[in-house]
């Protein structure tokens, strides 16, 4: 079952792109996405997405790493308790190095996982509604709307400066 009709406007300028998003929002369209060759604050500001939740992945991974590090060192020392010199079986200062390294390791890997899951890199948008020039020098605005709204969306995109328009069922 299709979600609706995808209308993609291709722009050469960032200000035209921002203007198109603004006009589409004014007209009441909500499902809007933008493409750009670089991250752009004006576009980000206009679309006002909620804060990325990758940070929770980072925090969870880091915390898990720290817990793993402390449990691993302490429990393995207790499992084979050989006293050397007058050192305690559980020597926390050197174990902190392992704890730190595992915090960074699992925190970093969880951040990567957070990026892969949240950005939904493969599933985000169909390639039919993508233009290879977006990775070069063009900007894009993609609107998902009802079939009867297509002409209106096309008009807004064109009046804002879109140079090309593509249509596709989503």
């Amino acid at each position: 079952m299709t979600k609706g009709q995808g209308v993609l406007g291709i722009f050469s300028y960032v200000d035209s792109t921002v203007e198109a998003i603004r006009n589409l929002k004014k007209a009441g369209y909500k499902d809007i996405k933008a493409f750009s060759p670089v991250p752009n604050h004006e576009i980000e500001e206009e679309l006002k997405e909620r804060e990325s939740i990758v940070r929770f992945f980072t925090l969870t991974g880091g915390t898990l790493g720290a817990i793993c590090g402390i449990s691993f060192t302490v429990l393995t020392s207790l499992s084979w308790p050989i006293q050397t010199s007058a050192k305690p079986i559980v020597s926390l200062p050197p174990y902190m190095i392992i704890v730190f390294e595992l915090t960074v390791l699992l925190g970093g890997l969880a951040t990567l996982l957070g990026l892969l899951i949240n950005a939904r890199l493969r599933k985000n948008i169909p390639f039919s509604l993508y233009d290879p020039r977006f990775s070069e020098d063009k900007f894009g605005v993609l609107v998902v709307c009802k079939k009867d709204e297509v002409r209106d969306v096309e008009g807004i995109l064109k009046s804002s400066g879109a140079e090309e328009i593509k249509f596709e069922g989503i």
């Binding site: 050469s12 300028y13 960032v14 200000d15 035209s16 996405k33 933008a34 493409f35 750009s36 060759p37 670089v38 991250p39 752009n40 576009i43 980000e44 679309l47 997405e49 990325s52 990758v54 940070r55 980072t58 880091g62 691993f72 060192t73 393995t76 020392s77 499992s79 084979w80 020597s91 050197p94 174990y95 190095i97 392992i98 730190f100 390294e101 595992l102 960074v104 390791l105 925190g107 970093g108 951040t111 990567l112 957070g114 990026l115 892969l116 949240n118 950005a119 939904r120 890199l121 985000n124 948008i125 390639f127 993508y130 290879p132 977006f134 990775s135 070069e136 020098d137 993609l142 400066g161």
Partner: protein, 444 residues
């Protein structure tokens, strides 16, 4: 970039992706030569495995020598990559953008090289996995109080995180290559590697956050890794090693040597691929200034070591430092001081630090000086410990030289493959420092 206004987004794509064109005859010649040197190194290693560590020139009491010197040298080289990519990213230093990809690649390949040496240094290298804690029938676990185990954790974490950071940074650029290349096999490979990146605002939002957090993790990691490497020495009571300044001294030295290696690598790449408009003199000047700072820290550490040895009143420590400056290995000690403390003084002059040829030559001196710094710390300290009856000299063997040359070939093999398969300059970040294309500017 000096000519920001004349460079457009599409010109950046064109120039950087052009670097991935079919390799030239010169590239192939260099690659084959590199493989031959690597082959010699491999043969030397196999000979050592077959014959035993005796061929490595070790003689009592020097059982850590060129291999551990190489290990510390390559770990050190790895450091400035993350400094440039992560720490300078957090400080929003714009000059990093044109050089950070090369520095990051250097980091990953240098860690891959460094990681070989503790294994090469083992008498029975096939048992290297004993260093990794894994469940076993006898319930034996590694000794977490040992600095060598800290090394295993630190270096493997560093390799993993710097590889992740390196790869994540490349995703948008790989997508740009995917969108440009026509040949089917390359298209498929870049399509897989780009993970479906399309540059939507949604992707950029998560991407910039993830990149920031990775940079925040990589920053303390850089400092921890070389501190841990320094503790391999500082935890022992060997005169010349047992000092609290080792961690900051090693970290500064690592950044110092890494920056020199970045210059050594970037200068020829810039010239061969005509990247003068992207990697400018001011980029080099900024690196030269960081070299001045780290050279001063390293030189200060050389002085403080001597002062502490004298002021502590510890006869063993003082004897060790007198021996360093005037003993059998004095030439290497003063070579180190010349390369690391005196030669970088030239960079105080703007005319020299903005001259690419001069910078390249100075960077070579620093590379040599930093290798000998590690050699001096390791070999001189061990050959002149507490008991005069144990003092002995170490002489490097041909096998060690062959393996050392092989390690350089191993590093450059990855590097040569990298510059022909992946974008050596960040396309997306270069565009970030260009003015965004606006209609208003066009109509004006």
């Amino acid at each position: 970039m000096s000519q920001e206004t004349t460079i457009t987004y599409s010109k950046v794509n064109e120039d950087i992706i052009k670097m991935l064109d079919k390799p030239t005859v010169k590239w192939w010649a260099l690659f084959v030569f590199d493989l031959i040197v690597l082959g010699i190194g491999l043969l030397c290693f196999l000979y050592q495995v077959y014959t035993g560590l005796g061929v490595a020139g070790y003689s009592h009491p020097v059982f850590w020598a060129v291999y551990i010197t190489n290990f510390v040298f390559w770990v050190g080289i790895a450091h400035s990559g993350t400094l440039i990519s992560a720490i300078l990213f957090l400080f929003r230093a714009r000059f990093r953008m044109s050089i950070y990809r090369i520095a990051e690649a250097m980091t990953v390949f240098a860690v891959l090289t460094a990681g070989l040496f503790p294994i090469i240094h083992l008498g029975r290298p096939w048992n290297f996995y004993w260093l990794i804690p894994y469940p076993n029938q006898r319930e034996l676990w590694v000794n977490f109080r040992s600095p060598l185990i800290w090394d295993v954790f630190a270096v493997s974490t560093y390799l993993t995180i710097s590889s992740v950071f390196f790869f994540v940074g490349m995703i948008p650029d790989i997508a740009a290559i995917r969108d440009r290349v026509k040949e089917v096999p390359r298209k498929i490979i870049y399509t897989i590697l780009s993970l479906g990146w399309k540059g939507s605002n949604w992707e950029w939002m998560h991407y910039t956050r993830a990149y920031l957090y990775l940079a925040a993790f990589a920053t303390p990691l850089v400092i921890s890794v070389h501190s841990v490497v320094s503790w391999d020495f500082a935890m022992a009571n060997t005169p010349g090693w047992h000092t609290t300044i080792f961690a900051p001294y090693f970290v500064a030295g690592a950044i110092f040597s890494g920056l020199a290696m970045v210059i050594t690598l970037v200068v020829p790449i810039r010239r061969i691929f005509h990247l003068e408009k992207y990697i400018t003199i001011s980029n080099f000047e900024a690196m030269a200034k960081m070299i001045i700072l780290t050279s001063l820290i390293v030189s200060y550490a050389y002085g403080v070591e001597f002062f502490m040895a004298w002021y502590s009143g510890n006869p063993y420590e003082w004897e060790q430092f007198k021996y360093r400056a005037t003993g059998d290995y004095a030439f290497f000690y003063w070579l180190m001081v010349f390369c690391n403390s005196l030669v970088p003084v030239l960079l105080w002059f703007k005319k020299i630090r903005t001259n690419i040829k001069a910078l390249f030559i100075i960077s070579l001196f620093i590379n040599i000086g930093m290798w000998f710094e590690r050699f001096n710390i390791i070999v001189i300290s061990l050959s002149h410990e507490f008991m005069p009856s144990t003092w002995n000299l170490y002489k490097v063997s041909l096998v060690e030289l062959g393996i050392t040359a092989g390690s350089f070939a191993w590093f450059f093999m990855f590097f040569l493959l990298f510059i022909k398969t992946l974008p050596a300059v960040s396309i997306a970040e270069l565009k970030e420092i260009l003015p965004a294309p606006v209609k208003e500017a066009k109509t004006k």
